[in-house]
Subunit: 356 residues, 2 copies
């Protein structure tokens, strides 16, 4: 992704909401530690305490969250950039920041078609919002920012190319309108993993904010933006039972350990709640999937004979599950075990942040 | 549930996998602290450290998990009951327990139709397994245990009545077969919240293990086993945006804060990822639901005019989301805020266990 950003002529502000981990962030960052993107107060505090000096909290802000952020800015000399798409909220945020005797830099969020946060790039409120931010003693305009969340919901790589252009176009259109009104727009920020990898041009864009590429997952594989071999995070589980009546292996990893996300299933048939690999990273039974989950149980089905499945995976043996959606699967864990691929040795343990 | 157990003439061994919380467990328990059920090593350690002396770890055991359990038994004088449905595993567990200089009591798990763990009640291996457990120096037979996981997947309350009888019948059939072979079966254990509440008889059963009733949720409401007013756990979220293009309110609670579980949707239409109540527990807009989730964003749709929705829930206002599935929603949180219903004051904070 660093090469991709360099090739596209843009900066990289990796989104840490997937990995939530200092060591992963240092690998992802252009510098040690360059700018990052986060999505919770807990992640903001974690990366500020780790020494990151430039953090974008990329979820629309409300004034009641400013006190802990002001505290972080003071304690760690970090600059925290916030998102806003609303005049009244911007006024309240400016007043609250002033009362807290701090200042925040604000990205105006643009909706490029996902219908989540953000003004339409052509909104009549865009210029007024930028002016209000510029006129506040406690706020400054960081730029415009958009995220094409819809890139995860399209059908093919060709569709992502179109979404990437819509994302670029929305952000640059908004920036041009502000510049035409005489307002400086320091940063035009876009990005998701699929759109960053599919974009044919990022003309007019200053930085990208992909995140899931650090691990990839089955959903990204089904979108056509990675290979199965690129998926870097797996869930280690133990075979705890063989049920000949349901013809299922049972794992001690269920809906909490794997998540109930089935996004890959929108495009690829038959991935269930994850693909089953043996512990050495081999796919011992082609087509073996976690086809059902209870809270702490995973049910594994294979395409062929049940005896083949049980022979390949005896009770007590361990398997690796490739996840549908790395963000959802990684989130509840406290740490990653870093495994050397040639001999499966755990060579390090990296802690991570979780919760809110 | 205490009254229900008393009325049915059975003991109550509440399943703590939903609440994962000491204070909730004390309320649920017949005594302070009576027997409990758990589903992870982390929950076992948490309740052992809290002083619980009789814990059933109700997920099929494998030998590599015995060392931490042996340590808990020694340190806290707790008896940990394990599940097994396989001769080879029972032999390996007995050998491992002996090597660890400890002993475990073992429930033989019976599959009553869910196709998860357990032998068929009529399995030819049942008696041999009980004999192997009885003959091991390090194991003793606690009894037979089954769980009708399929009770969450049926259509109506009448269906649950049938599942409850299948659950009872499987467990008591297995117990009778063992007793006919001259083997003592101290405990016949069954239960889920739906089957416990629907069962017409629990003749021959000694204990029940329901869990989700401590909170209830929309799925249980749709199953017909609780009212909306009975749902005791909600997720507090803030309205962080209004998007007039998608006609959605945005919340700072998404797929991680609410979970992606949509089990209630199997029976009730239109509950999405949760029902939206105002902070005082009122349902300000009938039919307002979280109809989509991203990682840290919830999208709220209402049945009527978007202006009514935004007027009821201005940006910065807070809402309570009633969850689809309490087990999935509560799991990643570190604590509960205990709220007095009459004035919405937080009167206590209860920590909980999470992870594995």
């Amino acid at each position: 992704m660093k090469n991709r950003a360099t090739g596209l002529g843009v900066g990289l502000r990796p989104h840490m909401k997937t990995a939530k981990c200092l060591e992963v962030g240092k690998i992802a960052s252009m510098e040690d530690f360059g700018p990052v993107t986060v999505s919770t107060l807990a992640e903001t505090a974690y990366f500020a305490a780790a020494g990151c000096k430039d953090i974008t909290l990329a979820v629309g802000i409300t004034p009641h969250k400013l006190a802990p952020l002001a505290d972080l800015q003071r304690r760690y000399s970090v600059e925290i950039n916030l998102l806003c798409d609303n005049l009244e909220v911007a006024r309240a945020v400016g007043n609250a920041a002033q009362a807290l005797r701090t200042a925040f830099s604000i990205f105006i969020e643009i909706d490029c078609g996902g219908g989540r946060g953000g003004l339409d790039a052509k909104s009549s409120q865009l210029v007024a919002l930028a002016q209000m931010i510029g006129n506040s003693d406690a706020l400054s305009l960081a730029g415009v920012l958009t995220h094409a969340g819809q890139s995860y919901r399209v059908g093919t790589f060709a569709d992502i190319v179109l979404v990437a252009e819509a994302e670029r176009s929305a952000a640059t259109t908004a920036a041009e309108r502000l510049r035409d009104a005489g307002i400086a727009v320091p940063i035009v920020s876009v990005g998701s993993t699929p759109t960053t990898l599919a974009a044919q041009s990022l003309a007019g864009v200053d930085e990208i904010r992909p995140g899931v590429y650090m691990f990839f997952d089955l959903d990204q594989f089904c979108l056509g933006v990675c290979d199965l071999e690129d998926i870097a995070m797996t869930v280690l589980a133990t075979v705890i039972g063989h049920n000949p009546r349901s013809k299922r292996l049972l794992l001690d990893a269920g809906s909490l350990a794997l998540s109930k996300d089935q996004s890959a299933g929108n495009r690829c048939e038959g991935f269930g709640y994850g693909l089953v690999f043996s512990i050495d990273g081999e796919r011992r039974i082609e087509g073996a999937i976690v086809d059902d989950v209870h809270q702490e149980h995973g049910f594994v089905a294979g395409p062929g004979n049940f005896d083949d499945l049980t022979a390949a995976f005896p009770i007590g043996s361990r398997v690796r599950i490739l996840p549908n959606h790395a963000c959802m699967t990684a989130a509840p864990y406290d740490r990653y075990h870093i495994v050397r691929t040639d001999d499966q040795r755990v060579i390090d343990i990296w802690s991570k942040v979780r919760g809110w």
